[in-house]
Symmetry: C2
Subunit: 197 residues, 2 copies
C-alpha cells in the first residue's frame, strides 16, 4: 500500500519538526505544522500562539479553561473545541493531498487510513538539551527542565485524546533515534521508504 501521508510525532528537541519539513521538501509535498495552526487560527479566531499552546495541554490540566477564555463553545471546553476543529482539518487535508503532518495527534486521527506512515522521532536527553539551546536559544529555565515539561505536556495531551501512550513503539510504524542517524540520515531513510512503498 502506497503511503501518501507521513505523520511525525516527536520529542521536544529531537529534530522531528525539521525532519518533517525536509522530507516534505524532498518529496515535493506540503508539510503541515505551523500551517495547520494558521488555518485553525483563521477558522476559529483564536491566536496562533494560543492554539499552539492548547495543542500541548489536555483539558484536565486546564480546570478553569472556560473561565480563562470566558466562553464555552457549543457545550465544549475550548480544548475540546480546538481538538475537534483540528481533527476535521487534518481529515480534510489527508483527503486532499499527500503531505507530512507534524504533531497534533495526526497519527491517531488518521488511524483508519491505510495510506499513512506513522513515525516517532526521539533522541537522548543530553543531545536534545544541547539542540534546543542552539535552535530556540537560552531561557531562564534550564534546558533539561524545558525538555521535561514539554514532553510531559505532550504525553498528557496525547494520552487524553488518544488513550494511547506517547512514545510507545507499538503506536508507530517506525521510530527513529535522530542522534543515531543524524537529521539528514532520517530524511533519507523516510524519503527512501516513501518512494519505495
Amino acid at each position: 500500500m502506497k503511503k501518501r501521508i507521513i505523520t511525525i510525532s516527536r520529542e521536544f528537541g529531537s529534530g522531528g519538526r525539521t525532519i518533517g519539513k525536509r522530507v516534505a521538501e524532498e518529496l515535493g509535498i506540503h508539510c503541515y505544522d505551523k500551517e495547520l495552526i494558521e488555518k485553525l487560527a483563521e477558522k476559529t479566531g483564536f491566536s496562533e500562539r494560543y492554539i499552539e499552546e492548547q495543542g500541548e495541554y489536555a483539558p484536565t490540566s486546564h480546570p478553569f479553561s472556560y473561565a480563562f477564555v470566558g466562553r464555552n463553545i457549543d457545550g465544549m471546553s475550548v480544548s475540546d473545541y480546538l481538538w475537534n476543529e483540528q481533527r476535521k482539518k487534518i481529515l480534510e487535508i489527508a483527503n486532499q493531498e499527500p503531505c507530512v503532518i507534524v504533531g497534533r495527534c495526526a497519527d491517531y486521527i488518521l488511524r483508519e487510513r491505510e495510506d499513512v506512515l506513522n513515525v516517532f522521532v526521539h533522541a537522548p536527553k543530553e543531545i536534545r538539551a544541547k539542540r534546543i539551546v542552539e535552535v530556540y536559544g537560552e531561557t531562564s529555565v534550564a534546558p533539561e527542565k524545558r525538555l521535561r515539561d514539554k514532553d510531559k505536556k505532550r504525553a498528557i495531551n496525547y494520552r487524553y485524546y488518544t488513550e494511547q501512550e506517547w512514545g510507545r513503539a507499538q503506536n508507530y510504524h517506525l521510530t527513529l533515534d535522530s542522534s543515531a542517524f543524524g537529521i539528514e540520515g532520517c530524511v533519507e531513510l523516510l524519503c527512501g521508504i516513501a518512494r519505495r512503498e
Copy 2:
C-alpha cells in the same frame, strides 16, 4: 559511526527472528540466536531448552529456582548465573566479529559500544496471532493468550535485568512495525542502513 552489530528485540510472532536471520544472510555475517543458546549449553551443561526458557523469565517469577535445579552456582540463582554467562558470551562475540544478535537483552548488554544498532520489531496482535499458528503450529492454548504470556515474560525479564521498559521507542535506535513493511521490507531497510552507516 559504522554499525558493526545489529541487535534485534522483538514481540513474539512479529517475525523479528526471521528478519535477523535474513539480514545476517544478506550482509554475510553471523546471526546469533539459537547459536548463542547452543554455546551457553555447551559451556554451562544446561539443556538448550532450559536456557531458552530461562531467557524469558526473571528470577522473581521463579521463586524456587534453586530448588528446581537443585543447585546454586557461585552464590547466584541459576537465572543470574545464566544471565552472567550469556552477558560474557555476548560481549565476547561483539568484540570478535560483526553480527546480528536476536533477543537476550543484547541491546542493553552492548550499550557502551557505539558500533551497535538496536532494533525493536513489533506488529499488531491479530497479525502476530495468525503468524504464530502458521510458523509454530496450533497448541491447546489460544494464540492470543500465547502472545500475551510470551510478551509479558519477555517484558518482565527485560525490566528485571535492564531496569528499562521493553518496547519503549527511546530504548532503540529504530523500531519497525513488520506488518507495515513486510518481512522482506524490514530486511531491505536494515541492510540499507547497515551498508550506508
